[in-house]
């Protein structure tokens, strides 16, 4: 049977891969199957006590009233708690073990952050309350902004972008606005191959043409190729630094100087800022704009895919163009949220508004809590330990799994391997699914695209040496099995809530909403589903 594995997490009992017989319930001990809420609930159930309405609708509303309640089955509170608790147990999470997703950066989420974000003074205030009643909330924004500006060595920060890609867009729109102010119609953005895949998408979204810059054999930007592209039509360059190969771009300053000399701006994708926070200030490298994924560097929870938060730090040159709203402090010491265009000195050229309100306040509270907990000294150690952990994984596995850039210097926060050298027919996917059986979340796979069968491992600073040693032992054992042609790897995972899922079927015949089944509670008639 399944002994607790070395990480202390007991792998779930799988289906037929492990069980020798079928249970009548479909559950296997603590491995619980769970139906959809639509199959469990019914129209006559409700988990909330609601008063009887004291009045009939106003006369003017009659023609808008709906004929029947929405076709949504309800559950009582105990049924709801059980449904979601059972579902939660089918998830891997950082609270269960390492989550070494390179470039995604999943570190321990301190619970103090959660507690602070839930203080009524932060959680229960409205974005359009009179500003005299939200001075503390505005002070959170101001304090976090001060930390971000100081840590990056930049002039200003736009706080409102909702996520990393949204921050990229904000930075490029600042560049566009600055060029417009100069009366220049530069329309090309250079994007190196080693940049995040979101970068070209963002540049296109902001109305630019994208031109790719190749990578050198050492996994860095080809500086000569980049310089050759510079000219009067180039608005700027988007560089991810540290890049997606986990490497620092050592020529960043030279690149920035060349781009500036040619009249362009430098956008830095700051997704990997966690590797250098407190050690290097991007402003010193000539960066004009850089977004910071608060969830990555400052550990705000990303619960199953979001929310994110992507404030953008800006150089002196771009600061005047930051979008609304922003905070300023008046002579009397009070903080003002500037929401109107042309409302403040020095910000008269704001390019507009990117979101309805002020950005991810709940994430700001968590990030500030995390930052204050670490302080300037602790944040520096965060970067050092993250880099130390990544290099430890790199050097502990490179004899079994080829590390394409290991000879070109230390990696930063993430270690990059390739699947070259595995037995015929074995690939990165087999290693990844095998890790699930070992009780670990797989690393990022098949990214970055510049490496064949890429495996990008980012341990983060919150993994202990003992924990890393267990992970390394599992990774090494899987590499050995894949080299030896162990066929059982092809059918991994064996000990997960589901075996390999058919992703092709999902894409070929998309089923995006519950179709219902005859005789099952909560199944609506077609007319209830609505639409065409």
């Amino acid at each position: 049977m399944n002994a607790p594995n070395a990480s202390g997490w007991r792998p779930s009992m799988g289906g037929a891969g492990e069980a020798k017989f079928a249970t009548s319930s479909g559950d296997y001990g603590l491995m619980l199957e769970e139906a959809l809420s639509f199959e469990l609930g019914s129209a006559d159930k409700c988990g909330v006590d609601i008063d009887e309405p004291s009045r009939a609708p106003v006369a003017g509303l009659s023609k808008f009233l709906r004929k029947s309640a929405p076709a949504l089955p309800g559950l009582t509170e105990p049924e709801t708690v059980r449904h979601y608790t059972r579902l939660s147990r089918q998830n891997y999470a950082i609270d269960l073990g390492p989550f070494p997703l390179g470039s995604c950066t999943m570190k321990h989420n301190p619970r103090l952050n959660e507690k602070m974000a839930r203080l009524p003074g932060f959680a229960d205030v409205h974005p359009m309350q009179p500003q005299t009643t939200v001075q503390g909330a505005l002070e959170v924004i101001e304090q976090l902004a001060d930390w971000l500006i100081t840590l990056t060595g930049m002039a200003s920060v736009a706080m409102s972008p909702k996520a990393g890609a949204h921050g990229e867009l904000c930075g490029l729109l600042c560049i566009r606005a600055a060029l417009d102010a100069r009366g220049e119609a530069r329309d090309v953005v250079l994007v190196p191959e080693s940049a995040h895949g979101t970068n070209p998408a963002t540049a296109a979204f902001a109305g630019f043409k994208v031109e790719s810059i190749p990578a050198t054999p050492a996994g860095r930007v080809d500086v000569a190729a980049l310089k050759a592209k510079l000219g009067p039509n180039v608005a700027g360059v988007m560089i991810t630094n540290p890049n997606t190969c986990g490497l620092f771009e050592p020529d960043m300053r030279e690149i920035a100087d060349a781009v500036h000399a040619a009249g362009g701006y430098v956008y830095c994708d700051g997704a990997n800022f966690n590797a250098i926070v407190g050690k290097v200030r991007p402003g010193d490298l000539g960066v004009d704009a850089m977004h910071i994924n608060l969830h990555k560097t400052f550990s705000t929870p990303h619960g199953g895919g979001g929310p994110g938060a992507g404030p953008v730090v800006l150089s002196e040159a771009l600061a005047p163009f930051a979008p609304l709203p922003f905070v300023t402090r008046g002579a009397d010491g009070s903080i003002h949220l500037v929401e109107e265009e042309n409302a403040a000195e020095g910000h008269a050229q704001a390019f507009g508004r990117m979101v309805a309100f002020h950005g991810q306040m709940g994430m700001f509270t968590r990030a500030l809590t995390y930052i204050l907990s670490h302080g300037a000294d602790g944040l520096r150690t965060v970067a050092e330990d993250a880099v130390l952990n990544a290099n430890y994984v790199l050097r502990s596995c490179e004899d079994l799994l080829p590390a394409p850039f290991a000879d070109s210097g230390p990696c930063m926060h993430e270690a990059l391997f390739s699947d070259a050298g595995l037995a015929e027919g074995f690939s990165t996917l087999d290693i990844a699914k095998g890790l699930i059986d070992e009780g670990f979340h797989p690393m990022t796979v098949y990214f970055p695209l510049v490496v064949k069968g890429a495996m990008l491992v980012e341990p983060t600073e919150t993994e202990s040496k003992a924990g890393l040693d267990r992970f390394i032992a599992s990774l090494r054992s899987l590499a050995e099995r894949a080299k030896a042609g162990d066929e059982s790897l092809h059918s991994a995972p064996h000990f997960a809530p589901r075996r390999r899922l058919d992703e092709t079927l999902a894409a070929r015949k998309p089923v995006l909403v519950w179709q219902g089944e005859p005789g099952v509670p909560g199944t609506p008639s077609l007319s209830e589903i609505g639409g065409s």
Partner: protein, 456 residues
């Protein structure tokens, strides 16, 4: 540092394995002149849990929270009761500390939630399908306009005068760069929304009309009539819902002909949070699925034939499609979607309908009482839980004076529409199930005193 597990001995032993003398040797690719020798100056050092809690609590205490005062703000963010079990469940570590479900075999919890969420949103909106959430309502609105342009191959979008002005600003900001043609109708202080103006603005070049439902002044547009006019010339209708609780009482936009329905999901499960993180909702007709922005969760089977869920159709997404991606969305609001979904599961359709009826009744009670304040009239013929109150003077000043009396009395139209003329005496007032008789009386009494010129 309580969050960092490496000991000095660990570090030394690991450096030995790596073959580096010091940790600084690992930063050798950083140009020497850019490397900082010690912690950045001018910032404090690390602090204990107790000290940080004291600091943050002091900041929180400087704010007047909605629950500690009579509270009547809406305008795209609403205060509803969130059942205790919602926040408890979203704080389970397996939800809170899970990342994007890239490995579906060990992310079935999140994926099943997203599938249930998509189904709930589609049924609430009356659309065939829905995605797994967007950043917020305003960015979802912009993405819908882009999607309509891709589908219709036309680029002229008409925004109704009742659209939340911040949503309109987001759209116009983005359109400046993508060169889409945005026609923004002016907001008018009329008892009913000017549907005729929207219909008159539609022509053969129109890609879509964007209509908020109920609109930013709390009025309810005739979506069926607008849809008929738009469809007659091949334009799409984008309905924007900033208060999804309303759909417990009034007809779903998809049922009335809207082709794309977007909205802000904050009302269910999420809380006010000073403006974010919020939850963008997005539903549409099934035939548009490949033009849809954002993440999608789809049903499939595993190697043993068991039902399971995966992220799907990712070829639309930017990390795959690069410059040809359909949207700027690279993530979703997973945790907020979970909160929304749990709250809606607790309510069920009947519960939502009753909650909506209570909201509407509380609003009626509020407006009946405010109408008795000398000099005050109610603009709307119909409303859900929010309507526009016309005051005898600039509502921006009145809101400030009410706040001096510890009453949070709504959002002034002057703050929402700083440059529009003729709206400044308008005050947008919202009531929900959290509004008490005492709140209503306190608001009316304070408003009476403020308008009478009494000092606080």
């Amino acid at each position: 540092m309580r969050y960092l597990p490496l000991t000095p001995a660990d570090r030394a032993s690991m450096l030995e394995t790596i073959g580096a003398a010091t940790v600084d040797d690992l930063f050798i690719d950083v140009p020497a002149e850019a490397r900082l020798a010690g912690p950045i100056e001018g910032l404090p050092a690390h602090a204990s849990e107790m000290a940080v809690e004291r600091h943050m609590s002091a900041l929180a205490a400087k704010n007047l929270s909605a629950g500690s005062a009579p509270f009547f703000l809406g305008a795209g963010a609403y205060r509803h009761h969130v059942p205790a079990s919602v926040d408890h469940l979203i704080q389970r570590g397996e939800f809170l500390t899970a990342y994007t479900p890239y490995q579906p075999e060990i992310a079935q919890g999140t994926l099943q939630v997203l599938f249930e969420f998509q189904t709930q949103v589609a049924r609430l909106f009356g659309t065939d399908i829905a995605n797994a959430s967007m950043y917020d309502g305003s960015t979802a609105c912009w993405e819908a306009i882009l999607m309509a342009a891709r589908i219709t191959r036309k680029g002229r979008s008409v925004l109704s005068g009742g659209l939340h002005p911040h949503y309109g600003e987001v759209v116009r900001t983005m359109a400046k760069f993508t060169k889409d043609d945005i026609v923004s109708l002016a907001p008018e202080l009329t008892a009913d929304p000017d549907d005729a103006a929207v219909i008159a603005a539609i022509d053969a070049t129109t890609s879509c009309v964007v209509v908020q439902y109920p609109d930013v002044m709390g009025r309810i547009p005739d979506l069926a009539a607008i849809s008929e006019a738009a469809h007659a010339v091949g334009a799409l209708v984008i309905a924007v819902v900033t208060e999804p609780v309303a759909l417990g009482l009034i007809e779903a936009p998809g049922t009335l002909g809207a082709d794309i329905v977007v909205g802000e999901g904050q009302s269910l499960g999420v809380g006010l949070q000073f403006g974010g993180p919020y939850l963008g909702l997005f539903g549409c007709r099934e035939k548009f699925v490949r033009q849809m922005p954002g993440r999608l969760c789809g049903q499939t089977v595993d190697a043993e034939g068991k039902r399971g869920f995966v992220l799907t159709l990712s070829t639309r997404e930017q990390h795959i499609r690069r410059e040809k991606a359909t949207s700027n969305i690279c993530t979703n609001s997973g945790l907020c979607a979970l909160a929304f979904s749990i709250h809606l599961t607790l309510l069920g359709g009947e519960g939502l309908a009753r909650l909506a009826a209570v909201n509407h009744a509380r609003a009626q009670q509020t407006f009946e009482r405010l109408a008795k304040v000398p000099g005050v009239t109610i603009l709307n013929t119909a409303y859900f839980n929010e309507a526009t109150v016309i005051l005898p003077r600039d509502a921006r000043e009145v809101v400030r004076e009410l706040a001096d009396r510890q009453v949070l009395g709504g959002v002034s139209l002057g703050r929402l529409f700083p440059v529009a003329d003729g709206l400044h005496n308008g005050l947008l007032v919202a009531a929900t199930e959290t509004t008490t008789d005492e709140d209503i009386e306190a608001f009316a009494t304070a408003l009476e005193a403020v308008l009478a010129g009494a000092s606080a």
